[in-house]
């Protein structure tokens, strides 16, 4: 009963890429819209009056000191934490109703070394782990296995994906978790400090990998970053969270000495290398005091 209707194919044309590249870039569909939102966690206002948008295919960084509520923002977009005020729309729907189109990588997850589950199993869970019942062998199961292989190759994890995930290095685990996040062909990736705990070469490699995948698959990415440098070359937009509120703009608007120094409240310099790339120097690694909660009224 699987007659291929070749005659229909030519009519099922994809949206013309040319139409998306018209003069006004704003025409790109909005994936995430945060509108005057307030988050309250454990009875405390983490941030309020936050506005931000992410358009289809955009590569966006979320910056800000520890405790500013970056992780909370991702959770609020997913509907894991309700917003106490304002509104968040994800793909035009309220949070939690369009999560099937989102790939999520939570903050700092390394698996216990004794966890005896293979990398491919973890990737597979991202594909159909939410289904009830036993996976029976058959066409669907074979298709899922093929998709998992494809994902593993996409992130270059073929060499170690069949080993227990707990025994892999941080960088190897992170690549597999990115594959897991991509499993359902999402329109949006929400990545919470994906470069954390990686060494410098791995940070650069994973950042380049993410940018390449997002361009190739037309996926928007929102990346919470502790150190902006590895992802700086790829960014379309920056959202800065701090002092209880948010600022957002193009990298040129936000990533300059004046703005970053004001936002972080500590001297930050942005240097330009000989090949025209920017480097942020003096970005606080882990500020001991983050003013965010205490002088929230300033924002």
């Amino acid at each position: 009963m699987s007659v291929v209707r070749a005659d229909i194919r030519p009519t099922r044309r994809r949206p013309e890429p040319a139409r998306r590249a018209t003069v006004v870039e704003v025409e790109r569909a909005t994936v995430v819209e945060v509108d005057g939102a307030t988050a309250v966690v454990g009875g405390r206002t983490v941030w309020s009056g936050v506005d931000a948008t992410v358009a289809a295919g955009e590569f966006v960084a979320v910056l800000g000191p520890n405790g500013a509520g970056k992780s909370t923002l991702l959770k609020a977009v997913l509907g894991l934490i309700p917003v106490a005020g304002g509104a968040i729309r994800l793909l035009g729907r309220p949070p939690g109703q369009a999560n099937h189109a989102v790939g999520y990588l939570p903050q700092r997850r390394s698996f216990d070394t004794s966890l005896r589950v293979r990398g491919v199993d973890v990737v597979r869970l991202g594909l159909d782990g939410d289904r009830w019942g036993i996976p029976l062998p058959g066409r669907r199961s074979r298709a899922a296995a093929a998709r998992v292989r494809e994902l593993v190759e996409l992130v270059g994890a073929g060499r170690y994906a069949d080993r227990p995930i707990g025994q892999l290095s941080g960088g190897e685990q992170q690549r597999l978790l990115i594959a897991q996040a991509l499993a359902r062909r999402p329109e949006l990736l929400l990545l919470d400090e994906p470069l954390d705990s990686l060494d410098l070469p791995n940070q650069a490699a994973v950042a380049a990998l993410l940018s390449r995948i997002c361009r190739a698959e037309g996926v928007a990415a929102v990346i919470v970053a502790h150190d902006v440098n590895p992802i700086l070359p790829y960014l379309d937009r920056v959202i800065y969270l701090g002092h209880g509120g948010a600022a957002s703009g193009t990298p040129a608007q936000v990533i300059n000495s004046g703005t970053l120094t004001r936002l972080y409240g500590t001297p930050v310099e942005v240097l330009s290398t000989s090949d025209g790339r920017l480097v942020v120097v003096g970005q606080p690694e882990a500020p001991a005091h983050h003013g965010g909660r205490h002088d929230r009224h300033a924002a």
């Binding site: 099937h100 989102v102 966890l115 005896r116 973890v122 869970l125 991202g126 159909d128 782990g129 939410d130």
Partner: protein, 295 residues
């Protein structure tokens, strides 16, 4: 027990099975192994062994109270274990969906369970031999009716486990992402604890409440040492649990020592073998790599 051992193992088995109580013991042991292995596999994966052990100990006052009140032992086990599972599930969850931070509370429940068990034993005078069986297991006097009850309960529990197995695996490995994918992580945690309570209640009736881990932890832990593929590892843990029960019953029939001892010994022996095999395999792999690098 008493029988005469010959090297004709089939004949020996036929001999045993001609005795109704031995036949029932094998049937009950098989049912219990079939449920204990998958439930224990998830328990090991979720690092809820402490909760599992507590549920087992709660079976003791349950069974003792049932004897004292003249109800069936099985009723006491199951009802107490399921109630305790619901209580543990209702405790505020740890930050990561694990139960590590609740260990103090769970430990308190354990102590209280043992104490009230002894109280019920004291209230029901002349129950001293029974106490030993409750704590360390017995395969004598299992009736056909009990086997049926165990089988029905196990079938229901296994059906539920099969239905929730995949999301439960997801939630166990990766709670945050599972929740983002719409998996009801908290509710599944409760369902699993209740299933674990039922499994523990069943296992406890054969191994005694102090030795439930012989079937609940050792076969799954052995399987997880040997294979990393979830489905294969689950299947292997069922096979290992069945081997453990059958070998233990077989040996116990000819020996004067209690069944709980044999179950634990066989299960532990298999675990030690698996660890040794993995160590040897690891060393051979290293030597092979060195040889390749050298040549």
């Amino acid at each position: 027990m008493t029988g005469t051992f010959t090297w004709n193992l089939i004949g020996d088995l036929q001999d045993m099975w001609s005795l109704p109580f031995m036949l029932n013991a094998f049937r009950a042991g098989t049912v219990v192994a079939l449920l204990a292995a998958p439930a224990g596999w998830f328990m090991v994966l979720r690092r809820q062994s402490f909760a599992g052990h507590t549920l087992a100990l709660v079976g003791f006052p349950g069974a003792a109270a049932a004897v004292w009140l003249g109800l069936g032992v099985a009723t006491g086990y199951v009802s107490f274990c399921v109630i305790a599972a619901l209580v543990i599930a209702a405790l505020p969850a740890g930050t990561r969906g694990g139960y590590s931070e609740q260990s103090a509370v769970i430990g308190t429940v354990q102590a209280f369970a043992l104490a009230s068990g002894m109280l019920f034993v004291a209230l029901y005078k002349g129950f001293l031999n029974g106490t030993n069986a409750l704590l360390f297991g017995s395969f004598l006097g299992i009736t056909a009716g009990q086997v049926t009850t165990l089988a029905v309960l196990a079938a229901v529990a296994l059906a539920v486990l099969a239905a929730v197995g995949r999301p439960l695996l997801f939630a166990s490995i990766d709670a945050d992402v599972a929740q983002a994918h719409g998996v009801p992580v908290r509710a599944l945690g409760t369902v699993f604890l209740v299933l674990l309570g039922v499994a523990v209640a069943e296992v406890g009736q054969i191994t005694g409440v102090l030795l439930v881990f012989a079937l609940l932890v050792l076969p799954p832990a052995t399987a997880q040492v040997l294979v990393a593929r979830p489905v294969a590892s689950l299947a292997l843990s069922v096979v290992l649990a069945l081997v453990t029960v059958w070998v233990a019953l077989f040996v116990a029939y000819y020996s004067p020592y209690p069944i709980g001892f044999w179950l634990t010994t066989v299960a532990f022996g298999l675990y030690a073998l698996a660890q040794a095999a993995t160590a040897v395999r690891g060393r051979l792999a290293v030597r092979g790599r060195l040889a390749v690098a050298g040549g």
